[in-house]
Amino acid sequence: MRRTFGQSLSLYGGVLVIVLAIGLPFWWVLTGSIKLPKEIIQRVPTMVPHSFTLQHFEKLLQASDFPIYLLNSMVVALFSTAFTVLLALPAAYAFFRMEFPGRNALYKTILLAYAFPGVVVLIPLYGLFAKVGLTDSPVALVIVNVAFALPFSIWMMRSFLATVPREIEEAAVVDGAPTTTILIRILMPLIAPGIASVAIFAFISSWTEFLFASVLIVSDARRTIPVGFAGIIGQYQIDWGLLLAGATAAIIPVVALFALVGRWFVSGLTDGAVK
């Protein structure tokens, strides 16, 4: 069916508004990071830079600990992602396919845990980690990140598993495949987009986590980007160029991840949604 001119206008107009609403702040951050300080703080912002400098990136990489924060964030996010996926997949399969007493109650309880605000358990968790010598350790962050990402990841993964026809599993059972083989050899390839979605969700949750990282990590050398970066910015005096350069550098890994597996992420979300 052909669209009328009015419909097309509305459609493209709507798309343009959305693109501008989402894209303009990014554009402002990206271009701001290469402007001279005087241009950044101008009363009327310039959307197209009138100046060019890499001084903010130089300062960010040479005079601050940003590269260390970046590395720490990478390590924590990658381990958090790996453990989340490794735990969410079998857990979701168990909730979806296996019969055991209290299955539904446990499933609901797990989702309830997702609704818990982190700040409620912040201080008790600090005490707990301190007792086992895990404060100021990236291991503590990985544990917390996995614990908070897991409930929603299980829920997502369960939805993806539900899209796989039962007959495929039954055929594997008839051929004598054990549960682990069915999960690894049959189901994993079929729900790869779902696994990618969970991985991206876990990665971004970990990448942007601030609350626990700010309290559980004490030394500068172990800080992750959100916390380290907040410190770089300062309180009473803000170096706007440094702030924008840091924001630009911080989103690069996330953008790269989306570029690699973004298509899977979208199809994964859609597949889960239409079941």
């Binding site: 300080p37 005087k38 950044i40 703080i41 101008q42 009363r43 300062k59 005079a63 601050s64 600990d65 912040l122 201080i123 600090y126 005490g127 301190a130 007792k131 404060t135 700010s214 309290v215 004490v218 030394s219 500068d220 916390v227 907040a230 410190g231 770089i232 910015i233 300062g234 309180q235 009473y236 005096q237 803000i238 170096d239 706007w240 160029g241």
Partner: protein, 429 residues
């Protein structure tokens, strides 16, 4: 004659003692401070390296924290037994930690340092209560009125000294889409600070009565809020979201004719590329019937938070070293033009005045130091300190009261009345 066994035992014991003395482990001190920007961390590192090299028996290391998290983080760390030995503070934070019994009084040390360097009384007063001194003042920050000489001259405006002059100046400077003044109206600490700068200049500096009841609702407070709301009309419309950085940017890009700020020198110098001679700073104007200006000042200090006697002794050596004029100026100039001296000899120290930025903005820094001597802080003005000030500050009740006037349109009298009720409610808990 001594038996060989006995001789060997004694010799072994003596050797152990000697070896222990020769290779005694240095006393390790951990300092938590909230000066996280890279250049401040770097300057602290330089100072600590120098101190550690000169004192091989003491090793001090820094762990920079953030003001945003330290209120939750420090109590948790102390509860878990891994808190710092020295902790930077501001007066209301000290009340929080004193409440959990981790702060060690420093009466003797402060007495020694005072006799040696002479503390500015306004910086010591917020830490003197309950018969002790709870922290060693380290640097001061005070709000001043900032403007550009050329802008005032072009508008035919003199530097305002009283509120009526101030209002007239703000009106005249509000031209060509520019704001005469940039005042925040956010429910945030910066607004607490600017509003209190008005309160101390109308005679409403005391938040508490002697018995600990709230003394907020009085004509002087209403007058301060009323005037603030009038002046805020000459501020940019987004001022209800402002923190310090936005106000500073507004001034740096010449959108705001005047602002109230602790310091703008660094931003003015590095981001606005302004002319040093054009930057003006003055005391915060006072109400017409008052005779002199006052301001809000934050005396930042260092608390001793270790019960270990060897560490306490080492910490005192470190703090004494830090306040020596030869070192102290370099400590202050980790943020030149913002951190002000708390000692009389520190204010004259060559190490402070020889800093490149301080030299360039000498007259402005001199005015800032003079202003800081008349500084007060809400909740710490009567010599008695009540624990509820921590919650009143943390919940930004002073700024919340302003929002009732500026955002909700209440009268200043009604808003202050509600503020009094809110503070009383917090104090009663």
């Amino acid at each position: 004659m001594m038996s060989p066994t006995r001789f060997l035992t004694i010799a072994g014991f003596a050797a152990t003692l000697l070896a222990g003395t020769a290779y005694a482990e240095p006393v390790d001190l951990t300092v938590w401070h909230m000066e996280q920007p890279p250049h401040r961390v770097q300057r602290m590192k330089e100072l600590l390296d120098e101190f550690n090299a000169a004192h091989p028996d003491i090793q001090v290391k820094q762990e920079p924290q953030s003001w945003g998290e330290v209120y939750a983080k420090a109590p948790a760390a102390f509860a878990a037994g891994n808190g710092p030995d020295l902790l930077f503070t501001i007066p209301d934070f000290t009340t929080v930690l004193k409440g959990i019994d981790v702060v060690v009084p420093v009466d003797d040390l402060v007495k020694d340092l005072d006799s040696k360097h002479g503390f500015v009384e306004a910086t010591l007063a917020p830490y003197k209560y309950d018969d002790h001194v709870w922290a060693v003042p380290a640097y001061n920050m005070a709000i001043s009125l900032w403007y550009r000489n050329s802008v005032l001259k072009a508008a035919g405006v003199e530097v305002p000294k009283t509120w009526s002059e101030w209002q007239a100046a703000a009106e005249k400077l509000s031209t060509d889409g520019k704001s005469g003044i940039g005042l925040p109206a956010n429910k945030q600490l910066y607004t607490d600070q600017t509003v209190y700068s008005f309160m101390v200049n109308s005679g409403a500096g005391d938040l508490y009565n002697d018995d600990g009841s709230i003394a907020f609702d009085k004509p002087e407070t209403v007058k301060a809020y009323d005037f603030y709301s009038k002046l805020a009309k000459f501020s940019p419309p987004d001022n209800s979201t402002w923190t310090w950085g936005e106000a500073e940017a507004c001034f740096a890009n010449s959108s705001c004719g005047m602002i109230l700020q602790f310091g703008v020198i660094n931003t003015y110098e590095t981001q606005a590329e302004g002319d040093a001679a054009d930057l003006g700073v003055a005391p915060v104007p006072h109400a017409d019937e008052q005779s002199a200006s006052a301001t809000i000042s934050y005396s930042n200090a260092i608390m001793l938070t270790t019960k270990d006697e060897a560490k306490q002794k080492a910490a005192k050596v470190f703090l004494t070293w830090l306040l020596e004029p030869a070192n102290y100026g370099r400590f202050l100039t980790m943020e030149p033009g913002l951190f002000l001296p708390v000692t009389n000899d520190g204010a004259k120290a060559e190490s402070f005045w020889s800093d490149k930025t301080v030299t360039k903005y000498k007259s402005q820094v001199e005015t800032m130091i003079a202003n800081s001597q008349n500084g007060k802080l809400f909740g710490f003005t009567t010599g008695k300190v009540f624990p509820s000030i921590g919650a009143i500050s943390a919940q930004n009740v002073i700024a919340e009261t302003l929002q009732r006037v500026v955002v909700d349109g209440q009268s200043a009298a009604d808003a202050v009345k509600a503020g009094q009720a809110r503070m009383s409610e917090i104090a009663a808990k």
